[in-house]
Amino acid sequence: MQVNEFKPKIVAFCCNWCSYAGADLAGTNRLNYPADVKIIRVPCSCRVNPLFVLRAFQRGADGVIICGCHPGDCHYTTGNYYARRRMTLLFSMLDYLGIEKERTRVEWVSAAEGAKFAATMNDFVATVTKLGENKRLEDLRCKK
Amino acid sequence: MSFSNNLKENVIRSAGVDPKKCMKCGKCTATCPNGNEMEYKPHQFVYMVEKGDIEPLMNTDSIYKCLSCFACVERCPRGVEPAKFIEAVRVAKIRKQGENHLKADMIPDLLDEDLPQQAIVTAFRKYSK
């Protein structure tokens, strides 16, 4: 085993009603996913401002994932539809600027999908780990 | 295409459908126009493949009694598509015999424009090693 194995920093924004509950369910079912994932609870995926995503990268995140209710199931009826458009465009712009598109993701996870939450996180962490450290959107001042 | 030694896995993989989805309603057998002629009926194919009981299926002539009419595929409420298992067992049997009824280079002459795509693909699967 390598000593200095790369451990990515992953910020996961989870909506309170579905995905946060889905993450709780993953916990209740003892479904393991890497500790690199840290969750921020937001009321709805539509609360996630692209600025937060960029901020995370600036501060040293290697991947950012946004989880919300499935389209049509938003607790606030339409929030995730707006989030979907916003994030699609943001991700597309990042890709356009040559920033690895695999570092960002949107996943819809319902309160019942604990297994999906864990699987998603496992997969995302694996993807980001493969990409390595975020270099293209880093802010050197924030490095230790 | 490489085959592992596990017969069950091979059959399931070549069938391309999941026997675990079966809820054992028997509609396939109910709907089969030739069911009464078969020693093992369509629903049994699904069940036995799942159990890994492939040998008896390979040795029964039921595999040749299936008309590939796909009535069971059409009507299966769970998308299990039993005919695909029967086909998979047939293919497994042919491969195991290691003898081809037809040589591969004979096939082009036999191709008929109106032949369903399914049949062509099936033939290629059967006769390729």
């Binding site: 458009r85 991700f91 712009m93 890709d95 600027l97 690895e100 598109k101 949107v106 | -």
Partner: protein
């Protein structure tokens, strides 16, 4: 055209219909035109101009001017009318206080392009149909007008006036432009090439805010990048991140609202092709959510304030090959 416009302006000022006229004022040389507010016939006679260099989009000045008492006349080129409509839809302009006179436009000339051909020392310029004659301190030149047109005019999206009270000239038509070709070219690069391309461009940014301040869509009372309390205050491009951040967010904030007037690229002192960021969003919106031209219809709902159940998932970006 210029004379007709001057007469129109003087006529409406004289009748008291409008209290002021927003137009273009001639400068020190033959190309350095300044947007200006004229309040009497004398000012118009002395300074008003409408020529190849009147590229500035006057619609944004209406936010300020239309708050004053009385009506103001504004001359808008076709592309400016889109910005005008967009501002209307966002309630930034009081329509009743503006008298819009639409003026036709056959493309504006980019002085930088001319300078790149003839060098420094331009002392006289004259346009004659397809040709532009340039006299410098050192030589005389004749160049094709088409070669000197601003990028946004070469790829003009529309010569149609979408808002006016009165038209001087034709209403014009929406054009079939090639404005997304360059975006597509960048999209077709590898990620590394794109990164290189944009680093090379954005690293020149000096954060002078000209792009933001000239942009009709960037008309916030207080920009988050100037707001000490926003947490994003960002005064200088200290790191590559801040260069990226400013331009990504600026483009995002105007996404769905940007009419592609091209002012950002025109004013950038560092020559950064900022329109390519905005156009990327426009292209994506058109592809993913259906064609949408901001400002075409002031009643339309913008693509980021609407949705359909069948919108593509963000995975169209993150999972694409």
């Amino acid at each position: 055209m210029q004379e007709v416009m001057k007469n129109k302006a003087k006529e409406l000022l004289a009748s008291g219909e409008v209290r002021a006229v927003i137009g273009w004022k001639k400068g020190e040389f033959c190309y350095d035109i300044t947007p200006a507010v004229f309040t009497n016939a004398e000012e118009i006679d002395n300074g008003f101009i409408y020529d190849d260099f009147c590229g500035a989009n006057l619609s944004k000045y209406l936010i300020k001017e239309a708050h004053k008492d009385g009506k103001v006349l504004v001359f808008l080129k076709p592309c400016d009318t889109y910005s005008f409509n967009q501002l209307l839809s966002e309630h930034r302009i009081n329509r009743e206080k503006v008298y819009v006179v639409g003026v036709s436009c056959d493309g504006k000339v980019d002085i930088e392009k001319i300078k790149r051909t003839v060098g420094d020392g331009i002392i006289a310029l004259s346009s004659d149909g397809d040709k532009i004659s340039v006299e410098t301190l050192y030589d005389k030149y004749e160049i094709n007008r088409a070669d000197a047109l601003a990028e946004r005019c070469v790829n003009c999206k529309s010569k149609k006036h979408v808002a006016y009270d009165e038209l001087l000239g034709d209403e014009g038509e929406v054009l079939d432009s090639k404005r997304f070709d360059e975006v597509e070219m960048i999209e077709n690069m590898t990620a590394d090439e794109r990164f290189e391309f944009w680093r090379n461009e954005l690293s020149r940014c000096i954060r002078c805010n000209a792009c933001r301040n000239v942009c009709p869509a960037c008309s916030c009372e207080k920009c988050i990048f100037d707001n000490d309390n926003s947490g994003y205050v960002n005064k200088a491009p200290v790191t590559s991140f801040e260069e990226n951040m400013f331009h990504i967010i600026r483009a995002f904030h105007v996404a769905g609202r940007c009419t592609d007037c091209g002012e950002c690229s025109r004013v950038c002192p560092q020559g950064i092709p900022l329109h390519l960021l905005n156009r990327k969003f426009i292209k994506d919106i058109n592809t993913l959510y259906g064609d949408y031209q901001a400002g075409e219809d002031p009643e339309a709902r913008g693509p980021l304030t609407s949705y359909t159940e069948k919108d593509p998932e963000p995975s169209v970006v993150t999972d694409k090959e």
